[in-house]
Subunit: 133 residues, 2 copies
Amino acid sequence: MERGDLDRMAEVWLDDEISCVHPGWPVLRGRVDVLRSYALIMANTEYIQFFLTDVQVTVDGETALVTCTENILSGGPAEPDGGAGPLMGELVVATNIFRRTPTGDWRLWSHHGSPVLAGAEEDEAEDEPSEGP
Amino acid sequence: MERGDLDRMAEVWLDDEISCVHPGWPVLRGRVDVLRSYALIMANTEYIQFFLTDVQVTVDGETALVTCTENILSGGPAEPDGGAGPLMGELVVATNIFRRTPTGDWRLWSHHGSPVLAGAEEDEAEDEPSEGP
């Protein structure tokens, strides 16, 4: 993703019945729609860097559940004067489901990323009941 | 969820290593934190109704991937004068992973719900590249 390498991204995913939700997006299903969405994002992203935190992996048989927080720093296309586009920070939580293929590779079956919104911190909920999400 | 039945909700989930993301929330892990979050939401929700659309189920061995759109109509606590609280519509997409237990029951391993934000419609992306999510 950071290299904008769509071919490599295509290798990460299973061949069929995949699903993907980008933050704020509706669900996308199937390789054509999913890979097209990545091509679209890559085409509109000059710079993107992921700092993964809070990664947890659970394996059960041939399935792995990977949850993590994606601290994303990204920038849009360069300005007309040649300067760098505006940089933006974003906090996303992701749920990823991988399947182990007969060749032993782990490939992505489902990815779901969503924005963490202000006021929905877990710590606040521990103090006193709020109005929920 | 519509009946606010926390005991029944507890039966839906696997016993351990579960994860849950409510719309806009950080990731919650483990039965204690996940069930507490549902108790909190139920305590602050006078009325909630889910209209599920676009449901797709994919089964691979003992694992099932269920994606859907949740058209949610919900209302907060009643007003001081006894009138109904304000009703609110919300559009959420959900990714659910179920595992089949040795007794043959399907139980929830991971749930991830996220808001569908305006301007992120799939149809728009088909017309022309926008600025992404």
